[in-house]
Symmetry: C2
Subunit: 232 residues, 2 copies
């Protein structure tokens, strides 16, 4: 049975953009596993026998796994003969640290550009659920958080400065080839990229070049997915 990955879908179910689900997608691609992405909406029922309430959810045989980090650990454990996402405790700590920095810097830098645009592409039933959840989380309206193109690009670029520095000296956060540390950041940026009416990422920066490098890997999987811009 093919592995199934549940991802957050827009009104147009071909557009799927969950930042954490994108970490899992890239992990599945890296390991060379066949998988199918299942669109899931905020208004859909909880997922699987455990009633998991948020994506990603991985369904592999009898295993239902929520939470992208648990999915990554599961994939390395379950498929040790496939390419490794993280090399032992050292690789896990490095990926954890990138996730921590994403939480502290990259999400805060990306949310003003992305979250209202993400809201706008949802189906009408999901919209009020998403709005309520996010406005409680941020303590203000989606409209109050939202910024336009110029500020959106600048805010994200500022948050990516330390990543640019590292990626100026190595092609990947994982060194010579990508690891889950790369997918942790990529997921956040692919989310912004998919939902935004403009290209948020500066392709001339070191992060931008790295982003394109990852988009082109795995037969251009991430490059070729439906986005707000290419499905207009």
């Amino acid at each position: 049975m093919t592995i199934k990955l549940y991802d957050l879908a827009a009104a147009n179910p071909k557009i799927m953009f969950g930042p954490f689900s994108w970490r899992s997608r890239m992990a599945l691609l890296h390991k060379g596993l066949d998988f199918e992405v299942v669109p899931w909406r905020w208004s859909d029922p909880n997922i699987g026998p455990k009633g998991l309430a948020s994506v990603p959810v991985l369904h592999d045989g009898d295993n239902w796994i929520g939470d992208s980090w648990d999915i990554a650990l599961y994939l390395d454990r379950q498929y040790p003969d496939k390419p490794t996402l993280m090399h032992g405790a050292e690789g896990q700590a490095a990926a954890q640290f990138v996730m921590s920095i994403c939480g502290a810097m990259v999400f805060p830098g990306a949310i003003p550009a992305a979250v209202y645009q993400a809201y706008q592409i949802l189906d009408e039933t999901s919209k009020p659920l998403f709005r309520k959840s996010r406005e409680e989380m941020f303590g203000c309206t989606l409209e109050a958080i939202h910024v336009g193109e110029e500020k959106g690009k600048a805010g994200l670029a500022a948050a990516l400065v330390p990543f640019n520095e590292t990626l100026a000296s190595a092609p990947f956060l994982g060194g010579d080839s990508p690891t889950y540390a790369d997918f942790a950041l990529f997921g956040v940026l692919k989310w912004v990229d998919i939902v935004s009416s403009y290209r948020v990422i500066d392709d001339s920066s070191d992060v931008g070049k790295w982003f394109v490098r990852l988009e082109n890997m795995y037969n251009g999987y991430a490059r070729d997915v439906p986005t707000v811009r290419n499905t207009r």
Copy 2:
């Protein structure tokens, strides 16, 4: 001939506190190499035949190496049979990223607590040189940057949030044992710790516990060095 490491010294030459030199010290300890620390002051001449103008400088046989990162790479290259500081390109990228985050977050969080206190312990000849250099760098006086104990602790704690998250799930940034990623952060914190009249680091936090763990390693080397507090 014993390896020599030049480090920044206070008026009391036993107090040596360069943040980048501390990265190199921990690297030398981790590799189990014998070394001697040479106190260097801002008013001292440039170091070695290359006239290196800032510490750390490593003098090993015929080799004079400035810059803590170059020293780390040198040590792994020159002493491959000793414990490794970084495991290949993956470990180098992970350490680079921690250094980038130190530059973007930890130094800015630590400088208000540390820099004026560091200035105050310098010898009288070095003081004006240090003041001029730092005030040009920051664009304001040392007194304007300086904050007291409460704000000093809070500013550093805020910058360390993502590190706490990672160190809650692994004993070291390098995973099960320390790597140069750990020493990169440790150097910044040991600098603040040595020059400050109070304990800046919250020993009950995950970073604090990790800091004490590293202080106690290598026969308590970092724990037992002279500081402003224990030489009063």
